[in-house]
Symmetry: C2
Subunit: 350 residues, 2 copies
């Protein structure tokens, strides 16, 4: 683990671009003394920023390019027109082995499309998924897919389950992570064809012993299972609903604590504790959507995050490399029979 | 509004059955002096409970039946085997005009199926939906469907939008409520075929001027729109994820306030304010899923609620009757062209 790891960064991605990426890299440089950074983007913008970041000195390279992918660019356009973009070149650095992982705060759809075309999916994986941590009463749960695949079939959900379970074992260090499929009720007959079919695939798979069954929306925050599997539409709505609700409760709390003088004094005395709560719920802690299922480690940071959030996204990428997540997934996939349609298509040979 | 309104209650429904229903009715009796209660269920269980409830005296009747619907009974079984159940008889009281509305804390699937078969849907409505209030930064938003319809088509979502908008006008008293369709992004091209098709139906409907477009999970708690329209699968997951997250943040808050003596003293001083927050987030405040689209008012209470929560569910039913919600929906539906498949089926003539 003490070997050097080069992290490729899309220095032009995100709402704030290079300033946040460079400062994020600087924070990560302190946290991960073995890391080096390949900053891909406009040299004229990156260089003046990097001079004042002491921890980065001697530990970075700049790969210059003029092209950047705007937030509104469609994935299909990104594939055709953005061959020299900072995002694509950063991903290519992983493909060629120059870097061990890549982090971008840019356009999610473009990142997904480019990562898939450049890195390719792991043998046995049809479609990569976006995964993230969710805070729970019992610690942390990983949920996927969070929006990469709006329409899924049962086989996709099975593959998400395999990836999520390997993730929980490798990165979270759990011995026997439990997997649940997100549904409208926990009874076997509940839900639509997709989740019922995915449940029977799971029960017939090597993962059967780790399969908890269906879980409901309330189970995410309870931490009923370690891995919550769902399609990208539902997962995206659930993730953003949770974010919105957490913000709403904080908003109500702030309002309540300003209703009386007594409450204000109380809030002052509890300031340390309330701050701890704020840190615990800090969305920057959960920044970093992992694109799982690719032949390489690729992490998406929230577009609007700050340097601390971006450093956390780098941390997620470093974790995935250090815990050899991809090796573990590949080993698991080798245990699963190749699904019929894939064998027929000749695509994936595990 | 000062006329008598009889509320039919499934006295056997819910996790706690008659004790919670009877005490809930007693609380509602004080809140709604014009209300009377028809308690449907086992007379031997109801009578001893009701004697000590002073506010109910002279304002109730008991309709005896031995049969009750268990929580695990399938809707199809409920339709065939539960003809004399407390739930069915309570719904029939609305159909015959004996009662103006019905409230049950029992089996949701059975309630939905029985209400649909006994009360029938309003002309122009294919499928009833379950709606509920969600707390937001700006007040309250109504969201539907929350689980009645696991698979929906675009026409269903249009009908949900019509019902939700009429609901916001009648019960919430809003002049021009804004309607949004829940999606993974706000851009027009986002999402699956279902939401995109529903959006174009809405844009071509008399509701077009009230249609905000797509909203994301974070928009629910922000209160971006007054009515959030979604299919029953996504809506159920979003509702329960929001409930779970709110509980998680409260849990974290309690933990934080116990970490130091200073925090504990602060919490004592802020106790009034924190209590206000608790009341504001109280799930009992939002108890009462409304089955919209039926020829009659039917409200589902949470199965696990207490008497206060059950009284709130009665309050929701009373509101729907008093604000003539169904008349308003029927008037709105008359403005909408009858969809082709319905006209062909000969089912609904508006």
């Amino acid at each position: 683990v003490s070997q050097t790891l080069t992290v490729a960064l899309d220095a032009m991605g995100g709402d704030h671009g290079a300033p946040v990426v460079v400062r994020g890299a600087d924070i990560a440089a302190e946290r991960f003394p073995f890391a080096r950074f390949l900053l891909v983007g406009d040299q004229a913008k990156i260089e003046p920023l990097i001079k004042s970041q002491m921890r980065l000195q001697g530990r970075y390279e700049i790969l210059h390019t003029d092209q950047a992918i705007p937030n509104e660019m469609k994935p299909s356009q990104a594939l055709r027109q953005a061959k020299q973009s900072s995002m694509r070149l950063a991903i290519e650095a992983v493909e060629t082995g120059t870097a061990g992982c890549v982090v971008s705060a840019g356009n999610t759809g473009a990142l997904m499309a480019l990562a898939k075309i450049v890195l390719k999916t792991l043998p046995g994986i049809d479609r990569p998924a976006i995964a993230s941590f969710m805070p729970t009463e019992r610690g942390e749960t990983v949920m996927l897919d969070l929006g990469a695949n709006i329409e899924c079939d049962a086989e996709n959900l099975l593959q998400f389950a395999i990836m999520g379970q390997a993730f929980a074992r490798s990165v979270l260090g759990l011995k026997d992570p439990r997997v649940g499929i997100l549904n409208v009720g926990s009874e076997e007959l509940k839900g639509n064809d997709l989740v019922r079919e995915a449940a029977s695939l799971l029960r017939a798979s090597p993962l059967a012993a780790s399969f908890h069954g269906f879980v409901e929306g309330t189970d995410i925050a309870k931490g009923t299972v370690d891995v919550v599997v769902t399609d990208g539409f539902t997962g995206n709505v659930a993730l953003k609903t949770a974010e919105g609700t957490a913000r709403l409760v904080s908003h109500f709390l702030r309002q309540s604590l300003q209703t009386s003088l007594l409450a204000k004094i109380g809030a002052l005395l509890s300031a340390g504790a309330l701050n701890k709560l704020k840190l615990r719920m800090d969305p920057r802690r959960y920044n970093g959507g992992m694109l799982l299922g690719l032949n390489g480690v690729c992490v998406k940071s929230h577009g609007g995050t700050d340097a601390i959030g971006f450093a956390n996204a780098i941390g997620v990428a470093v974790d995935l490399v250090q815990h050899r997540f991809n090796d573990m997934v590949s080993a698991d996939l080798a245990l699963h029979p190749v699904p019929a349609k894939q064998a027929a298509g000749g695509g994936g040979s595990a």
